[in-house]
């Protein structure tokens, strides 16, 4: 690939990346500095490292492998409710962990719907607890994300290509080879790395569905080191390992794999002439239906169990909801301020390795970041007065890897398509951003902002470390309700949380897609 035709100032991107790395390094440094003992890891820690790596690897592989056919079916078919379905695909991802686990268990658990059906037909009940349960939950969370990422890649293929392919009478197989396969090569490594990193940080899901201490992940070991043993040295070492593994995965996926870019089209509506008819049509339909059922039925159970509680929610739950909305708005702003310059930088450079810096945001344990920053700010301000801003910032860091994964390919395409013209017209700086890049990546900005808003809404994150009576977010308030035996009200709060998170996601995503030129 030739040097990028446009020059986007790298300063903003470098600044943002440095800030992210500095935020994480400062927290890690603070924890290590306060450590009194040594920095050694025991055999149990190594077992946790092995299990974490293995389950994250499998989760990423299965999620992406299943996402490819689902995304292909969705890309080729147009049907009523397709837009809603694609938007709903974002939903599992944004559920608070405990809600998602209860939803999954309502369907696949010991007393779940699947086992009730099996029992009805006289089969032995299935137990999902174990590695299988961990993978099931991680695929539930990440299959939709992988599907969206791949779908987005394919939808970026200019309509002219498909038209030409149709005129040449290419079979679906050849269309796959010449048009879809190269895009897949570009999207899949990043999606694998992203999901691998998400699953590295898993704790409550892995423990609960893994059936016990066999399913101890690094995150749980970090938790234990902090709270059970108060061994800050070990906590810092484990955090460092977690970051190292995420970094290695990111470098493997993003650095070694070359970035391909397609030349632009006219931005017409894509029509898939290659979509086969007949039996294959039903195969596509079945794939979409299966994936939708797998993702939406647990969600439905959460909605159903929340309905009785939502009408009688106490006022403080709504106050907490306001806090969550505020946190969510702030973290979207922070996220875009960090992600756009970074995406501009990465999108115009040849290798994507810098994106690794973004991935670190998710790989850093929230407990480590929270404790590290607690140590740093404690001498100067009361941590509880910063509870909401710190939560918003940490949430933005968490959403950064998703935002980059979504934005970078978009920026690459815009630069490839419009770069030469922009350079010839002498567009630079903010004009280039405002007139060329931002309109071009509007769908990606919308999707990224929506994910960030929803993630931030549903994340318990660091708030529990900092909160007092007056600064509770909705997820924290939901946990408090559960802690006070009020499971029905908690289910109602969870439903409210889903509505808010999904609403925020929908608003941002729809804004992006309305302006989309390729749909």
């Amino acid at each position: 690939m030739a040097a990028s035709p446009v020059q986007i100032s790298r300063l903003g991107g470098i600044g943002a990346a440095t800030l992210v790395v500095a935020l994480i390094a400062a927290a890690l440094g603070a924890v290590a500095w306060r450590a009194e003992g040594g920095y050694s890891l025991g055999p149990a820690d190594w077992a946790a490292v092995r299990f974490t790596l293995w389950q994250a690897f499998l989760s990423a592989l299965i999620s992406v492998a299943l996402a490819v056919p689902v995304a292909r079916a969705l890309a080729r078919r147009r049907f009523v409710g397709r837009g809603v379905l694609i938007a709903l695909l974002g939903a599992p991802f944004i559920l608070p962990v405990i809600v998602a686990v209860l939803g999954i268990l309502a369907v696949f658990g010991r007393g779940g719907w699947v086992n009730q059906l099996l029992g009805h037909w006289g089969f032995e009940p299935l137990s999902i607890y174990g590695l299988g349960g961990v993978l099931l939950a991680h695929v539930f969370f990440n299959l939709p994300l992988a599907t969206r990422l791949i779908l987005q890649g394919w939808q970026g293929i200019p309509a002219e290509r498909f038209r030409l392919a149709a005129q040449l009478g290419l079979t679906p197989r050849i269309v796959f080879r010449v048009l879809e396969w190269p895009v897949l090569l570009r999207v899949v490594p990043g999606a694998l790395a992203l999901i691998f990193v998400i699953c590295l940080a898993s704790f409550a899901v892995a423990l609960t569905l893994g059936g016990g201490p066999r399913a101890t992940t690094i995150e749980l070991a970090i938790y234990q080191a902090f709270l059970f043993d108060f061994d800050l040295g070990r906590a810092a070492m484990l955090s460092l390992m977690q970051l190292g593994m995420a970094g290695a995965a990111a470098v493997l996926a993003l650095w070694l794999v070359p970035q391909v870019s397609l030349t632009g089209g006219m931005g017409r509506m894509v029509r898939r002439w290659d979509a086969p008819t007949g039996v294959l049509r039903w195969v596509d339909a079945a794939l979409i239906a299966l994936a939708a059922a797998f993702l939406l039925v647990p969600l439905l159970s959460v909605v159903l169990s929340g309905l009785p509680g939502i009408t009688a929610l106490p006022a403080n739950v709504f106050r907490a909801a306001w806090s969550s909305i505020w946190v969510s708005c702030v973290s979207v702003c922070v996220l875009l301020a960090l992600a756009l310059p970074m995406a501009g930088w990465i999108g115009t450079s040849r290798r994507g390795g810098v994106e690794a810096a973004g991935l670190l945001g998710f790989a850093a344990s929230p407990l480590m970041i929270g404790t590290g920053w607690f140590i740093l700010i404690y001498p100067y301000v009361a941590p509880s007065s910063l509870a909401l801003p710190v939560t918003a910032l940490v949430n933005a860091l968490m959403a950064l890897p998703f935002a980059l994964r979504i934005l970078v390919p978009g920026v690459r395409d815009v630069v490839a398509a419009q770069g030469r013209l922009s350079a010839a017209l002498g567009l630079r700086g903010w004009r280039l951003w405002l007139w060329v890049i931002l309109p071009g990546v509007r769908p990606q900005v919308g999707f990224a902002a929506g994910l960030a808003a929803a993630l931030s809404m549903g994340d318990l994150g660091v708030i529990a470390l900092f909160a007092d009576q007056d600064h509770a977010t909705l997820p924290l308030q939901m946990y408090r309700l559960m802690g006070a035996y009020q499971m029905q009200a908690a289910a109602g709060a969870a439903l409210l949380l889903i509505l808010l998170a999904f609403g925020a996601f929908w608003i941002c995503d729809a804004w992006g897609r309305r302006g989309a030129v390729s749909e």
Partner: protein, 328 residues
Amino acid sequence: MKPIHLAAGVLAATVATTAQAETPVLTVYTYDSFVSDWGPGPVIEKAFEEVCDCDLQFVGTGDGAALLARVKLEGARSDADVVLGLDTNLTAAATATGLFAPHSVDVAYDVPMEWTDPNFVPFDWGYFAFVYNDGISPPKNFRELADSDLKIVIQDPRSSTPGLGLLMWVKAAYGDEAPAIWADLADKIVTVTKGWSESYGLFLEGEADMALSYTTSPAYHLIAEEDATKHAAPFSEGHYLQVEVAGKLANSDQPELADKFLEFMVTDAFQSAIPTTNWMYPAVTPKDGLPEGFETLITPETALLVPSDDAPALRDEALQEWLQALSK
């Protein structure tokens, strides 16, 4: 903003600050569910502020273990005057920090053990127990549980106080036989959760026949929900006791107020809020007795408790055994 308004604003702010400076602030660190709107925090704050002429501020920090970690992190310069919500598994480690000062409370406690700790005052207590629904025949001890076909859900001792309680319960009851008991129990455990809320939620959803909780849990369902179908299973080994305590920090800038709070803590105004907000037994039974419904609860004949000085070493040993038994 017009200058006159600005001036008024500054004046108001000054008055507010002065007023604040005159009211001493007592900062109490506690676990999160204590300060929640459904916990004892709000009631107790109101009751204490009526008598103390001060501003009582609760700060919530995760659970009991997070509370001790927070105090250790802040060290001697902590703003906290009182730490409320540690239990006897943690008091030895808390005392070892040297951050806590002796208390001066001297009352007759209704705690099922002799209380002699010079630094910590108990404010409530409870027994761990397995809670079940009507319709099953509950096991009478751990061995019967191991032989039954019941499924239980428990908490991870590394991230949860009740989880640690169960670990100590089996250890206190069976000593060196504890690993064998855990090995027998392994296939009865549906899963292990991060905290109490998750397991209790799974139990209520029907994922398990019994969940590790407290003997007082059925009281919540009976009193708040008028549901008499939940019971705690009495175990013949005895039940492990959790005693929750509070202590004064040596570096408190309000030592007298802190003492006053600890004194207040064992009076009726505080203690009568405990049974139906924290769903535990009060450390000093209020004059009016326990709320109606508590008389239906099981009362274990034997209270098990590892002395707090032995707890840290025994805890680490028991954790290793537990991990080994359940990781097979």
